[in-house]
């Protein structure tokens, strides 16, 4: 799995240049159509508006700032009509030639009020479009493309509610709302990425340049996407359709890093879109004591084919079929103690969307995923070789019916998982024990139904009320093959003649949302309550039950599902001012939640014994408060935001080393193609309870941390070509570069430049 330069690599690279060269003539001379869509009445940006040329499918949609841009052929400028459409506004039609001379497009709201929830962008653009209301933050490509982020973990590390842990090899795991990494479900294009082994996904494997947005869904109020998301969901939306033919971005920076990314887009037919991306990246951290170096290399490919069988100007009514392929290979070498880690992940998915009076918003997705990992480590004391091979076949069917104010959503999910793992240890342990290798097979069935009532109450203090109730049923069947213990004996892993273990459970959720206006103040209020369930992971299952401790009889080892009951309330207040005023808008968001865990797993190790132990805490709680205040000013050129979160954790052995308090402040400015972002953040002390040899706990407090990031970028249009340059300075206040085991805290600098055709 080595990614070192090889003849094959040179040849494949050359092929890409040839492909690009071949594609370039396909792109005709074009113009860039760009602008900001605003609400005509209040001046607020309109996100999610479709901007396109009449009679053609080419176009774009506005981001959370109302900004859109797309390309149109120069030959149509004189005759084409620009359409800007949004379901809650009158559609704007304007000759393209006239539109090219304007920057601001104002839409008149329809009589019915604009649907809003407590999110930074409309919910219908998220993974959870059909799901229950939740607090959602969307990080759009404009906030990270070309900037100095080495991977998704690096990008999300300063986001509110998120905590990233990094190990020496660069592997990154994500926690949300003070939960554990296994409590977050990561989706790539709607496909679950978490490993079958420990329910964790390594965020360093994904290419940020190939993402159109990252959705952070906080809280456990998802019914359609599994009952395991105790603390939230991260959904990565890849770029499947862009208006440029080719884009190339090169970044260089600290640790001798280099990262190039090439994207190609081609539409041979009006309703057929082809897209391909290749990326290669590496960085090398030389150890200051000259004892060696750590080197990371990765190579990433992705491709998409989207065919619109029945194009429609209403994105919700397009009938389409899509094929997606993604592969990433990564390799880590640590030559100071001879370690190598390799990952090879591959996804192929086929999706079909259809709208008809009978099948309203039918979505069917079938996918095959391979998640492989191997680690080899050699030391004077012994050797370690660990391998995981995870294959997942999945099928997801979802449909939505609307009957007047009632909406019914149904979903069925099936997964067929196979995990083969082995961990060979030689000369490392005083005592052998545990499972050395095994093949585990798992089948999961999930079915969910949501009933939603949307009541529009007209003008007044309460203009809209929404009530959701959902039920979800999950069933997991585990079976085994070839389980071998370290002593060399074959053993029966699951008891019983069938050698199977089955769990099943139903969960129910309820939520309500109220929206309205009081004076000049808009408000949204939501309340969610529900239950979730997480079945024991394979890691839990192969761990050893902790011995009974008479000192704490309530702590037992019980291999049963974890349960979670959550209650969350949220309030958003916002006020708009005249677009010509100094201050244009402010918004305040506040949410409070409590997560009550039952049968929470705690794992631990004993030195010299290659076994994990588990035990279960009958009750553990996380309570939290999150707040965000955003101010938009100077004719929307600048915005500032302050975010803060506070978490109270009852059991710091079950949830160790979580930030109790975190605060961030961001200043954004965009003007004449320049974008500037300054971001400061503070994380409080992190406490964890460490077990001593007598199963008593001692608290360890890790120090607080604060730092400061700066990003500056500029896009410049030069005929059919757009040029790009960026400068990123990360952790500017850091005075030393020490690997602390905590997500990328070193001071780093990056330069990026790119070209788009």
């Amino acid at each position: 799995m080595s990614l070192r330069k090889s003849p094959f690599r040179r040849i494949s690279r050359g092929c890409f240049w040839l492909l690009l060269g071949a594609l370039m003539p396909l792109g005709a001379q074009s113009v860039v159509v760009t602008g900001i869509v605003l609400n005509k009445q209040d001046g607020r940006p309109v996100p999610g508006a479709s901007a396109y040329i009449e009679g053609r499918t080419l176009g774009g949609s506005s981001d959370s700032s109302g900004y859109f841009n797309f390309r149109a052929g120069e030959d149509v400028v004189d005759s084409a009509v620009l359409i800007i459409h949004h379901i809650a506004y009158d559609t704007l039609r304007m000759p393209l030639k006239k539109a090219l001379g304007r920057h601001v497009f104002r839409l008149t709201p329809l009589v019915r009020p604009l649907e809003k929830i407590v999110v930074e962008v409309p919910r219908d653009r998220t993974l959870l479009a059909n799901d229950l209301p939740a607090a959602v933050t969307i990080v759009e490509a404009s906030e990270f493309e070309g900037r100095g982020y080495i991977d998704l973990g690096d990008l999300l590390r300063t986001e509110k509610s998120i905590q990233i842990e990094e190990d020496l090899s660069g592997r990154k795991s994500l926690s949300l709302r003070a939960g554990n990494p296994g409590d977050v479900v990561v989706f790539y294009n709607g496909l679950k990425m978490n490993s079958l082994y420990d329910n964790i996904f390594d965020l360093s494997l994904l290419n940020v340049e190939d993402m159109s947005q990252v959705e952070i869904i906080r809280g456990s109020n998802t019914a359609l996407y599994g009952a395991e998301a105790f603390s939230g969901v991260i959904n990565i939306v890849p770029r499947t359709r862009q208006d440029y033919t080719a884009r190339f971005i090169q970044k260089i920076g600290s640790y001798r890093s280099g990262d190039w990314n090439l994207q190609l887009n081609y539409a041979p037919l009006e309703n057929l879109y082809l897209n391909a991306t290749v990326k290669e990246a590496a960085y090398k951290r030389v150890l200051g004591d000259k004892s060696g170096y750590l080197e990371n290399r990765s190579r990433y490919y992705s491709g998409n084919i989207l065919y619109e069988i029945s194009p429609s100007s209403d994105a919700g009514k397009v009938e389409s079929i899509g094929l997606m392929y993604m592969r990433v290979d990564s390799d880590h070498q640590n030559n100071s103690f001879v370690e190598s880690i390799g990952d090879a992940n591959e996804i192929v998915s086929l999706s079909y969307k259809k709208w008809s009076p009978l099948w309203q918003n039918l979505e069917v997705t079938a996918a095959r995923q391979i998640l492989n990992n191997r680690q080899t480590l050699v030391d004077v004391s012994g050797t370690l070789e660990r391998r995981f091979a995870n294959r997942r076949l999945s099928l997801n069917v979802q449909n939505r019916y609307r009957f007047s104010v009632l909406e019914l959503i149904g979903a069925y999910q099936f997964e067929d998982n196979r995990l083969k793992f082995s961990e060979l240890r030689a000369g490392l342990d005083r005592f052998s024990g545990g499972i050395e290798s095994a093949g585990i097979y798992q089948r999961r069935h999930g079915a969910a139904a949501i009933a939603r009532v949307k009541a529009r109450l007209g003008k007044g203090p309460v203009s809209k009320a929404l009530v959701d109730i959902s039920y979800r049923y999950d069933r997991v069947d585990n079976s085994e093959r070839d389980v071998v213990e370290r002593q060399g004996e074959t053993r029966v892993f699951y008891d019983g003649e069938q050698q199977r273990r089955r769990w099943q459970a139903g969960t129910i959720k309820f939520s309500t949302t109220l929206s309205g206006r009081a004076g000049n103040l808009d408000y949204d209020f939501f309340m969610n309550a529900g239950s979730n369930i997480k079945f024991p992971t394979i890691f839990n299952q192969i761990s050893q039950a902790a011995p009974f401790n008479p000192g704490v009889p309530e702590i037992v080892a019980r291999l049963e599902p974890e349960k979670n009951r959550s209650l969350e309330t949220g309030l958003m207040l916002s006020r708009l001012y005249d677009t010509e005023a100094v201050i244009n808008e402010w918004r305040l968001e506040f949410s409070q939640f409590s997560n009550a865990y039952e049968n929470k797993f705690r794992n631990y190790y004993i030195p010299g014994l290659p076994l994990a132990f588990y035990e279960n805490v009958p009750n553990a709680d996380i309570r939290g408060y999150e707040a965000l205040w955003k101010l938009v000013f100077l004719q929307r050129i600048m915005s500032m935001s302050w975010g803060a979160s506070f978490y109270d954790i009852s059991d710091q052995a079950a949830f160790p080393f979580k930030n109790k308090v975190s605060v961030s402040a961001t200043l954004n400015a965009q003007y004449a193609g320049f974008r500037l972002q300054l971001k400061g953040f503070y994380e409080s002390e992190r406490a964890g309870w460490l077990r001593d040899i007598r199963s008593e706990y001692v608290e360890l407090r890790l120090p607080s941390y604060y730092n400061f990031d700066l990003h500056l970028s500029k896009w410049h249009t030069l005929g059919p070509v757009r040029l790009f340059a960026s400068l990123s300075a990360r952790n500017l206040l850091n005075t030393r570069t020490v690997l602390e085991g905590i997500a990328i805290r070193d001071r780093r600098f990056y330069l990026g430049f790119g070209v788009e055709y």
């Binding site: 090169q250 040899i693 690997l739």
Partner: protein, 279 residues
Amino acid sequence: MRFLIRAAVLLLLTVSCTENFLFDDEITPVNTRSVEGYVQLRGETDHGGIYVYLEGFDVETYTDAGGYFKLEIPQNPRLQPGQGVDGAFYIWYYVDNYRLMNSLTLVRGGQFSYGHADINDEGRLKKTVVLPKLLDITTSVSPERISEEFDGVLQVNMTLKNLTDSVYVNVLERKFHELGGVYLINNPDSSNIQFVRLENAANRRVLVDSVQYWQMLVSRDSLPLFPGKYEVLPFVKLYHKGMPDVLREKFGSNASTFSREFLNLPRKVSPALLTIGRR
């Protein structure tokens, strides 16, 4: 123009790179796998021989004469179970007739967390650990010198004096304060050990809360035949409250009994000297 643009794009593509020479940073690897410090015996000038044991990792060492020790977690953290063990681990300091003491260390990701618990930012004990003496054991023999033909009775006297709190000891006793067993260790051939045990002597747990005088009469038959110098050591083993089993077992499962393994225990006891002279 189009040609120039294409040429520029192709130029950019051909300079694509995954490494650069502009940002040649170095990092300092964290290596906190060792702790060091000083342990002293109260009232002594020689602090060597104190047994130092890191529980859990099963790592041990002895102090040098100045009381200095250094312990190191043997394995690279990524080779440890879980790719780096987390936990609270005690370092124990043990000399049998001194108070058993410990220091707390916190281990995260298989390495010591410096600056926490009893370890400072440099990986040293925050304070020198001083072990108070619990029991003073003095032994004498009479006569101190005998000949090969000696056919009388050798008298061994032992005084036990608790120096702080009362302590429990395990001794071999035949009847009240009559010592039931001693070791005779040939000097310099310390592997030549003779066990002198009286009939009907048994292991007893005895409370020492003041000065106690013990005596033992040894007939010539029980003494070594060969001339030489011998150290006379009584069997007195202290009970240490809170002593972990793993530490107790480190010196052998019989170390608490009148056995050869008892002699492996770190102790600070001055033996009586017996000389058996030639004819």
